[in-house]
């Protein structure tokens, strides 16, 4: 019998919450440990196996020159690279710096700013190396993670739909919070995958899975104004975990279908190079 595939988990600029989702797979964790050899996962174990790795899960964004080098080495040693979470797929909430002066932040936040080496922008992994699949979310969805690992183990393409959260609200029978309660909701422009969690608890989607395959932000913001939001509130609702991705998708002149379509049997996202 051949050796089990190796799984590595890597952290870049992030809060660790997405990695913890893997440890949080209580019912499946033993099965995962039985199906793969966890070769590099510092959050769980200091035991490290040298690469190459069959699958790498990459959390976090690139915010330093050192990390920009490190992700290339991770890519070189990984057969399949899957980015996990809003930091890795969109730059995360720390990409708010992309639209401000990072020098100002550094001088105000740190007592010894000269010790802090950082890049002006927080960028997603796909801006640096080719990425095979993206798991969106802040944090990622546990079921999507397990299903993706199961798909990769079986050698089939993971089911990662890029349609709107509205599909999932309707499938689970949640009445639209925007229509029935007037609550602003990013669901119509946000990628599915969470199971439409927030609207099921009576609140609007805040877009933690990032832009859906198609985004018509002008039409949605026009409706937000009808619901009573002012310009500052509208800018703010888009400026959270996926600020850079929503900015790119909502910039005037952005292509109508901003995300690459999924290629059957082919890696889903390979933006760099």
């Amino acid at each position: 019998m051949s050796a089990p595939p190796t799984l590595a988990v890597w952290k870049f600029a992030s809060c660790d919450g997405c990695q913890l989702t893997l440890l949080d797979c209580e019912d499946e964790l033993l099965q995962i440990a039985g199906a793969v050899r966890i070769a590099h996962f510092l959050e769980a174990s200091r035991a490290v196996v040298e690469g190459p790795y069959d699958v790498s899960l990459v959390e976090g964004s690139i915010t330093t020159a050192a990390d920009a080098d490190r992700i290339r080495r991770v890519r070189d040693r990984s057969r399949i690279l899957v980015t996990i979470g809003a930091c890795a797929t969109a730059g995360g909430v720390q990409a708010l710096r992309n639209f401000a002066d990072v020098e100002e932040f550094r001088s105000v936040v740190y007592a010894k700013p000269e010790y802090v080496a950082t890049l002006a922008d927080s960028t997603p992994i796909a801006a640096h190396v080719p990425v095979d699949y993206e798991l969106r979310g802040c944090p990622i969805d546990r079921t999507q993670l397990v299903n993706t690992l199961a798909a990769l183990l079986a050698g089939r393409r993971p089911d990662l739909p890029m349609h709107s959260v509205c599909f999932e609200c309707k499938r689970r029978g949640t009445p639209c919070v925007m229509v029935a309660k007037g609550i602003p909701c990013l669901g119509p422009v946000t990628a599915a995958g969470c199971g439409a969690l927030c609207p099921a608890y009576g609140r609007g989607c805040y877009g933690c899975f990032g832009p859906a395959a198609t985004v018509n932000a002008d039409a949605l913001t026009a409706q937000f104004r009808v619901l009573g939001m002012d310009q500052a509130e509208i800018e703010r609702i888009f400026a959270t975990f996926n600020v850079a991705a929503f900015k790119a998708a909502t910039t005037p002149g952005a292509p109508e279908e901003h995300a690459a379509p999924a290629f059957l049997g082919m890696p889903q996202v390979r933006r760099a190079e």
């Binding site: 397990v146 890029m162 349609h163 709107s164 309707k170 499938r171 949640t174 009445p175 029935a180 999924a262």
Partner: protein, 382 residues
């Protein structure tokens, strides 16, 4: 002859005693949803709705009527054509092969309580599309459903069943069948009462077990009149034109660009539509690779992946996707199934987050079509 019921408790109790799972309207999450009812008092007594494009609000009524409101966020499609259903599962055998099995569970035996005449038509449309009477999953779910219609006496602001070729009532003097009982609700100072017509032998048999009274002619006349008047109070209309010709003749209309600028392509209209039936499949495997499943799930022509063929999606613009939906719903559905795909329930208007109105869009297309045919001097296609 119609009879009079002064309460729906015995009806719900009798259906449950017969082993039906009774599904009907009830208030949840700020809307009148469809859910399994244990008792008749779960019906939305005293609740009305205010409807508009992209807006739905419950409102308290002065009376205790349960059915003086209109289509909610869900339709009976939820139960006849569930959002997600397993097609088969497979287990790896010891010899390395697979054993594939269809789910063995029997579909639930439903009684639908409070089916609006527009939704009764929608069920009939689904029957034609998904194959009632055939040997398939839909037919097994559909067979033996007990249908209690609630005639409409208070159409909503977004209702247009009459111009979609239907009407607010079933029963004597109306076309169609396909139901077991039909209720017309009368709510006034005397309380809430129901004039009941039977539409099938099963309906009669059930009715015989209920404590009904004779419906006095003036009461019956009031009920008939309330339904007749509802037909004149529709909030909206579709153009009176031949819609199949209209949609076929406006494929390059400027209006498609206009609506594409407003459309989110979020898919809500198709999900709430009681006749939209499209699905895709998803495969799952477990971590051991010994167990696999294939599931059917609701899909929408507004999904970019929906028209994905080798190399990319065929309908890559919002314009093309909205046009696909509307031309199919009102036009090419005729070619495919011999009828319209729209029953005039108005759900797509209400539950569009940005309030795109199918009747307004169709009127705009009709105006553009009329102008273009007038320009050609003669309007040959009209």
């Amino acid at each position: 002859m119609p009879v009079l019921l002064t309460s729906l408790d015995p009806l719900v109790a009798a259906l449950r005693a017969d082993g039906y799972r009774v599904v009907g309207p009830t208030v949840r999450d700020g809307a009148i949803v469809l859910a399994e009812l244990d008792r008749a008092d779960m019906l939305p007594y005293g609740w009305g709705v205010r409807l508009g494009p992209g807006g739905y609000r419950l409102r308290e009524r002065d009376d205790r009527a349960a059915f003086a409101n209109s289509a909610g966020p869900q339709s009976w499609k939820q139960f006849l054509h569930p959002p997600r259903q397993q097609l088969w599962s497979a287990e790896r055998d010891s010899d390395g092969g697979f054993t594939v099995a269809e789910p063995a569970d029997e579909p639930p035996r439903y009684a639908f309580l409070g089916v609006r005449p527009c939704d009764l038509r929608a069920i009939s449309v689904l029957d034609h599309v998904l194959g009632a009477g055939a040997d398939n999953r839909y037919a097994r779910r559909r067979e033996g459903i007990f249908i209690v219609v609630a005639n409409c006496t208070e159409p909503g602001e977004t209702c247009f069943c009459v111009s979609a070729g239907g009407g607010p009532g079933v029963g004597p003097g109306h076309d169609g069948a396909g139901y077991d009982l039909a209720l017309t609700e009368l709510a006034d100072d005397d309380g809430v009462r129901y004039v009941v017509d039977a539409g099938s032998e099963d309906g009669w048999r059930l009715l015989d077990r209920l404590p009904y009274e004779a419906a006095e002619p003036p009461t019956t006349a009031r009920a008939r009149d309330a339904v007749a008047r509802a037909a004149d109070r529709m909030g909206r209309t579709l153009p009176a034109a031949d819609l199949r010709a209209l949609l076929a003749g406006t494929l390059e209309a400027a209006r498609w660009d206009d609506v594409a600028a407003r459309c989110l392509s979020c898919g809500n209209c198709t999900m709430v539509c009681p006749t939209c039936f499209c699905t895709s499949v998803e495969d799952t495997t477990d971590l051991t690779g010994d167990h696999a499943e294939r599931w059917l799930r609701w899909e929408s022509c507004f999904d970019l992946d929906f028209s994905y063929l080798h190399g990319g999606p065929v309908r890559s613009s919002r314009r093309s996707r909205y046009r696909q939906w509307l031309t199919h719903k009102l036009g090419t559905w005729h070619d495919q199934f011999g009828e319209s795909g729209c029953v005039g329930c108005g759900r797509c208007i209400v539950w569009c987050p940005v309030g795109i109105d199918i009747t307004e869009e169709t009127h705009a297309l009709a105006a553009e079509y009329e102008a273009s045919t007038d320009d050609r001097g003669g309007g040959a296609q009209r």
